[in-house]
Structure formats: C-alpha cells, structure tokens
Amino acid sequence: MFMAAGVFTGILVGAIPGLNAPMAIAIAVPLTYSMDAIAGIAFLIGIMKGGTFGGSITAILLNTPGSPEATSTAFDGYPLARQGKGLKAMKMALYASVTGDTFSDIVLFTVAAPLALLALRMGPAEMTAVLMFALTIVAGLSGQSLVRGLIAAVLGAFLSTVGLDIATAEPRLTFGFVELEDGIPIIPLTIGLLALSEVLIQIERYLHADSAGRRVVDAFAQDIPRENKTVTWQEYKRCSRTIVRSSLIGTGIGALPGIGAIVAGFMSYAAAKRASKHPERFGKGELEGVAATEAANSAVSGANLIPLLAIGVPGSLSAAILIGAFLIHGVDPGPLIFKNSPQLVYGIFAIMAAGNLFNLVIGGIGLRFFALLVKVPLGMLHPIIVLLCIAGAFANGSTMFSVGIMLVFAVLGYFMRKLDFSFATFIVGFALGESFEVFFRQTVTLFADRPAELLSRPIVMAFVALTLWSLWRTSRRRGSAAA
C-alpha cells in the first residue's frame, strides 16, 4: 500500500520538471517518521523507483525531460511521439526501465558484498581514469559539429568549477553570492536548460504559426494502427541486447559513488548508437534509443544501494538521504546489517522486488493518463509548464535565487538549441567536470611524490587504455565520415 503510494508519487514527481526523486525522498523522509520501518522504507524506495521512470513520460510526450536522467530518452522518444507512437515509446521506456531496475536489484541481492569490495578498490586515481573514459562519450553526443559539441562540454565543465574550492574553502567565481558556494545547483540548471528552453522554443513555433505539423499526434486517435500503441515481443527482443548492455553500464556506474544516473543514461545511449548497425536512425525515433537510456538510468537506482547496504557508504544523493531514513527507522546500514537484522535485509529486498512490479502496473496505467496531456491545448499547457518550472526550481533550496539560475539557463538553452550547441554534452561536462576535478586533485595529492606507482595500478591502466581506444575509434570514424 505504502509502496504503491510511493511509486505513484515517484512517477508524478519524476514527470514534473523540477521535482525529482532525491528531492521527493528528502521531503518524504519526515513523513515516514510515524510509519513503521518496513512501511516507511517501502514508501521511500517506491518513490525512488517510480521517479526514474516518471522522467521519461514528459521527455517523450513534450520533449521536456521531467528529470535530467531522461534527457536522452527525449532524443528518440519525442520523434516517436510526433509519429504517433507516443504510447509505444512510453511502454518501451517502462519495460526497459523495469528490466534495468530488476537487473540491478538482482545484482544487489546476489553479489552486493563482493561488488562493494571491488568498488572500494576504486581510489582517486582509478576514478580519475574512469571519468576520463566516461568523458569520451562526449564525442558521440555532440550533434552535427564536433567542435560545437566540445565547446558546450568545456563550458559545462567550466561552470562546474563555480563554488567553494574543495581544498582551500575559498569561493571561486561566485561573484559574492553565498548561494553559489556549493556550485551552480544542477536541478535549476537542468530545468532551465532542458525544460523551459524547450517550452520557449515550442511557444515561439506556435506563435509563428508553423505549429500545424508540430503537434504531437494524439496517441489514442482511432486512425493510429494498433501496432503503434504497443510494444511487441519481437520489438522487445530486438532491443534486448541494448537493454542488457545498458543495465550493465547502469549497474556499474551506480555501484561507484560520484558519477550518477545522468551520465549513465548518456553513456548507454552513446554506446547503443555506436553498436547499432544503423546509427543514423538514432535521434529520429529509434526505439532502441529510448530503451538504452531508460534501462541504464533505472539500473543506477538499485545499484546505488550496493555500497549503502554492503559497507554503509551511500552511492548517490538519493542513497545518502535514504541512509538518514534508514537510521531513523532503526536500520543501521553497513557491514553488520546482514548479521544483525537479516529479516530486515530480506524485507528490503522483497520491497524492491515488489517495487518493480508496482512500477510496471502503476506505470502502465499511469502512462495512459499522462498520454492525455497531448489533448490539452498548447496555449494552456505551455504556460502551466512554465509555472511548474518556476515552482520546481524554487523547491530546490527554497530560494528565488534558484529560480533566477533556472531562468538564466533557459535563455542560454534557447540559444544553444538554435545554434546547435549540444546541451547533452554541456550537461555531461557539467556533471562530470566537478567529480573529475575532485578526483584529479586527490590523485595529485596522493601521488605527487610517487607518480610511477600509478603505472602499476591495473585498473588505472585498463581505463587509460580504454580511453585511448575510444578516442582512436572516434577520430577514425570522424575521419572516414569526412572523407
């Protein structure tokens, strides 16, 4: 029951730009004070699971991702919706999401402890190498021009350096705003860049009266053949390789603290495009693109709990908030949990398994209602989304400052979209830039007097090799495309 409420809340907040799962969990934690442990945790985990799928709904239907993880869902989901295959895309997103989530939950149930130990071996040097490899995906996301894509990525990384310096605690590029000391908050940034700027562009098109062809086809219209409303078994099977690959990427990234679901989604999308026999179809309504992103970003959420349950160290913001909730409910996450309260651990596992089921059912019903969104006249819908963007930005930290940030990035996003500067690479740069700097600086501190030792670390060398291989492939591909 609480689980269902949680999943429903999660889908809802996931779908609304500006509200996201970590925030909803944070807000819900105090609400669970009065519940018993299992009910409270079920509610919170429900939100987490529902939230990862919810973001894809608005991404597909309106091209305004409800949460940043779903950015690359919109790449193919929105074109599909415009072709009248909105329901199909949403169903694919749901199935992929639940599959990815289930996969990472199974990994959590079975090999959490060894995997967590492996994750512990990832020190600053290893993480620097991993992030270097992750950054090479920028090339695959950069749109028509590699140079413009790189500019966007570097700009994103540059903006991630705003805030208190981690070593000296002095403010960097804050221009005297205390609010910027923790850096530019990513939620208002993504609301502005992903949701509001897209709405601005859609409003503009509407005003210029070339809106006729821009309207998303009503997913329920009678004249749409049935096959466009459902996902057939064949289609699911066709995407299964992608889903498995994405689930692996998502689980791996989720088990490592400091990278996050946003990057997992982008990486899987880029990987699926690279592996595909017809990469040119990506971005124009390829079902696999939707599946790739959703499987990965959902896989992250289960895997985030691996370090939390196995060693008591949270793997993400959601997990960090969950740890607080666990403690409040008398659950001490960490190495002892399996010994001291095994029934609780299995209770949590059962909750997670049930959560996936609920997600499938509630999501399946819910997306039909959400599909009705496209019946709302645009003249009403867009102003309301603008309003939600503002409210959502405000909810992040309860200040008008966040709203200001959101508006600035909405205008920036408008120009980036018009001038084909990929906002995807911008977000990757922003999301990875900060972690990369921190890990890089930690590595320098640790290895400044013994740099040779880095060469003897197998994980570091493996990822350096992977990075070089990836760069070489990209340059060769770009080269042959130009020739």
């Binding site: 102003p383 409210a391 600086r441």
Partner: protein, 149 residues
Amino acid sequence: MRRADIVVGLLLTLFGLVSLFAIIPAQVGSAAGDAGVAPDLFPLVLMSLLTGLAVLLWVSRLVHHAKADEPAPLRPEDFFYILAASIVLAASFLAITHLGFIAGGVLTVAVAMLAMEGRHHPLRLVATSLLAPLAVFAFFRYLFSILLP
C-alpha cells in the same frame, strides 16, 4: 550555420579572453596548499580550452566556404522573441519575489496565454490563469510541504 558559427566563435573567443585575464584572476585564488593543485588551475585550463575551440570554430568556418545558402539559425524575429520572453520571465521573477507565487503566477500564465492564444478563449484564459497557480501552490504546499513564496 557558417555565419552564425563565425559570430558565435568570435563572441566566445572574446568571452574566453576576458575570463582568462580578468574574471578568473579576480574571482579565484591561485595559491596552492603545500601539496596539490591550485584552485584556479581547472578554471584556467578549461577556459583556455574553450578559447582555443572558439578560435578553431571561426577559423575553420572562415577557411571552408559555405556549401549552399543555408537558412540562418537565428532570424531577427527570433531575437525579438527571446528578448520579449526574457522580459516576461524577468517580470514574473520580480512579481513572484514581491507579490508572492500566486499573484505572480496568475500574471505569468495570463501573459503567456494572451501571447499564445490572444482573446479567442476569454473564459479559458481567466480560468486557467487563476486556477493553475492556485493548484500548483496547493499541490506543493500539501503534497510536498514546500511553501512557495
């Protein structure tokens, strides 16, 4: 795209140079602790990279001649539109700050709807612009216990 790239490239180059030589030195300290990296290393490296890429952008576009007459990505009316939109958003920001979310929200929705639909559906306009902010406010207040201003 060619002309746009050249203009944007030049603007970004300018932005990069100003940042490198004025903003970053003024806003970031350069003293490193006893071990480690100076706080301004990453901003400087990234900004240099950005400037370099920006130069690459406009130089490469200057060298290559345009293949065909592509439509310009930004028309004058686009600038007019985004300027107007920015003004509306800024006004709405101020209205919410000073009058509260509900009053500011009503104005924002009303202006946006007026712009999009004109006065074709007066009833819808009034109803939406009044009800939507109230609904959003109540939704945040009671479901998420976030008190909008």
